[in-house]
């Protein structure tokens, strides 16, 4: 055998395919990078568009008026540009929706993950997820044509009762407040109905993500709890729920974003009147409903009226961002790691 060192090493054997392989690898890497960048790029493009169009708007309308005026009538002869009515509409419908979706979604998740027998879960889970697949415009008409009449019927006795009571009160203070905020009849458009239906729409989103989070809590934790003599509910509530808190809170954050951004239900069922109110019995317009109203109308591009939707859109993005940040910090505060 000859000394291997005496021969020139034959690297060629090992490097024949090297060039072509490195090209393939780079192409793949580039494609992956582009895919990742496309979403970042879209986000940036949207922000640039919103801000640049809003700049034109804020040249005409002082930003202070925009943020503090309680009247929004950009399409009228005597236009006023106060965003507060749209913000109040958005926040009120969101709050109503969340007050339905968070408890219902959480309870459904606890039931499905900790209590439901296999067979029951196999039925309920797909049905719940089907609920998430219904187009929102259908929910809108469900709110307007089914839930609102139902609410009107349920509300009538209460309205009559409160009104009878109001009439006996001396004028001023409480009486005025009741007279204005607790009407005799519930209007055909109101934020309560839109918000409730929006809550029903968001429930499966929250229950599905929360259930996954709770089911991924290790069995040892559950058994540890049972072994101390805990009941099924104590185990679910005191051990599994806190252990899954990070996943559950992210479902809440997603639910909030969904509610803030929801358009069709509120556009159809809440009425399109921008009124500054936090009373869910009133009709109101949300930011999204206003945007869709203007986009569908025949307002010329580039006009001030047209630019209002970009300013409104910017506020919507900021509201969502702020709620997300609050949710993030709340979940960090309450999170219990395992």
């Amino acid at each position: 055998m000859s000394d291997p060192m005496s021969q020139a090493p034959n690297f060629e054997v090992f490097s024949r395919k090297r060039a072509s392989r490195s090209v393939t690898e780079r192409v793949i890497e580039l494609v992956l990078l582009l895919a990742a960048l496309s979403s970042v790029g879209t986000t940036i493009a949207i922000m640039v568009l919103l801000i640049s169009e809003s700049v034109g708007f804020f040249k005409e309308v002082p930003i202070l008026e925009f943020l503090t005026s309680k009247s929004w009538s950009p399409l009228f002869d005597n236009p006023e540009y106060g965003i507060l009515p749209l913000v109040s509409g958005t926040l009120t419908t969101t709050l109503v929706a969340l007050s339905v979706a968070i408890p219902m979604g959480t309870i459904a998740a606890i039931y499905l993950s900790e209590f439901a027998p296999q067979k029951v879960r196999e039925v309920i889970k797909p049905v719940l997820e089907l609920l998430a697949g219904i187009p929102t415009v259908v929910y809108g008409y469900f709110a307007l044509l089914f839930v609102t009449p139902l609410l009107q019927q349920l509300y009538a006795p209460l309205g009559t009762l409160v009104n009878g009571f109001t009439e006996k009160l001396p004028a001023g203070g409480l009486s005025d407040w009741l007279y204005n905020d607790v009407p005799l009849d519930l209007g055909g458009f109101n934020m309560l109905s839109a918000g409730l239906v929006m809550g029903i729409m968001i429930t499966p989103l929250i229950s599905s993500i929360s259930e996954d989070a709770m089911r991924s809590v290790p069995t040892e934790l559950r058994e540890g709890s049972y072994a101390t003599g805990a009941t099924r509910f104590q185990t679910a509530w005191k051990v599994v729920f806190p252990a899954a808190m990070s996943g559950i809170s992210s479902s809440y954050i997603l639910g909030i974003s969904r509610a803030v951004g929801e358009t069709m239900i509120v556009a159809v069922a809440a009425g399109l009147q921008p009124i500054f109110t936090f009373n869910p019995l009133n009709s109101a317009a949300t930011i999204t409903a206003f945007i869709v109203q203007v986009s569908l109308g025949d307002i010329p591009h580039g006009s001030l009226e047209y630019q209002t939707i970009f300013a409104a859109g910017l506020v919507l993005v900021l509201v969502t961002l702020v709620l997300n940040i609050i949710g993030y910090f709340l979940s960090k505060r309450f999170r219990e790691e395992y």
């Binding site: 559950r222 058994e223 049972y226 072994a227 101390t228 005191k238 051990v239 219990e336």
Partner: protein
């Protein structure tokens, strides 16, 4: 096999619990076959045997943990304190678990503070007085030889502790409700040798106050720790005796092969 068991004068020991002709099925799989065992009061009893022999299944019968899952069923009895068959359908498994504690294979503290972990059993059992809970938490942590290490940080999360400390915390959690019997399911298999010897020392001390039944995969551990040892194989109780007798002069051929390391 009953003959071998009778080599130990069972009537001479005071039983905390007695397994009588226990059969257990996972669905249609017959996992425990007419198992008999005496768990002597305030002694350490070890269950040994190769993987899949049913020793953990037997252990989990004692606190009815099998009841959590569908398709499991028992035949036979586990008589507690010579009085109650805890496998009887009339017995509430939650009451059983309040009196029979358990420590698991891997430390499984809850995502709560050190204090709340130990207080958990007390709270779920309905204790509300803070002074009582404070007192019992302190006593449990002292019994689990953890008090000195954690007394200044009772409010910090349990996950900040090391693996060995977490396991002692789980022992404290089991001790807090003052059970009469504690089940240990391979409690040191996830721990390093130093943490293991700490836990073993702790168990040797604990037998003053509670009866201990431990499943272990380590024959050395059984030999070091246990007063009595039971060898199980393929779901049957092959031999049960004082630990020294079982290891030094096994009566059964299978036991001998296993303790001499010829299989398993």
């Amino acid at each position: 096999m009953v003959e071998e068991v009778s080599q130990l004068n069972v009537t001479a020991v005071k039983p905390k619990a007695e397994v009588i002709d226990l059969d257990f099925y996972y669905g249609s799989t017959h996992v425990l076959k007419r198992v008999n065992l005496v768990v002597p009061d305030r002694q350490i009893t070890a269950l040994i045997g190769p993987s899949g022999c049913g020793k953990t299944t037997l252990l989990r019968c004692f606190n009815r943990l099998h009841d959590l899952y569908p398709d499991n069923h028992y035949n036979g009895e586990i008589v507690f304190d010579s009085a109650v068959n805890i496998l009887s359908p009339k017995v509430d498994p939650i009451e059983v678990r309040m009196r029979i504690g358990m420590v698991f294979q891997r430390p499984n503290p809850f995502p709560k503070s050190i204090y709340e972990n130990v207080a958990y059993g007390l709270r779920v059992q309905g204790e509300r007085k803070t002074s009582v809970i404070d007192d019992k938490v302190e006593r449990a942590l002292k019994s689990a030889a953890l008090w000195d290490e954690v007394k200044d940080r009772l409010k910090s999360p349990a996950y900040a502790l090391s693996g060995g400390q977490q396991q002692r915390l789980c022992i404290a959690r089991a001790l807090a409700t003052e059970p009469e019997l504690i089940l240990f399911d391979e409690p040191t298999s996830a721990l390093d040798p130093i943490a293991t010897s700490n836990i073993e020392e702790l168990m040797a001390e604990l037998k003053q106050q509670v009866t201990i039944l431990i499943v272990t995969h380590s024959m050395q551990q059984a030999a070091r720790l246990a007063d009595y040892t039971a060898f199980m194989y393929l779901g049957e109780m092959v031999e049960f005796n004082r630990t020294l007798a079982l290891f030094n002069s096994p009566l059964n051929k299978q036991t001998e092969d296993y303790v001499k390391g010829r299989f398993g």
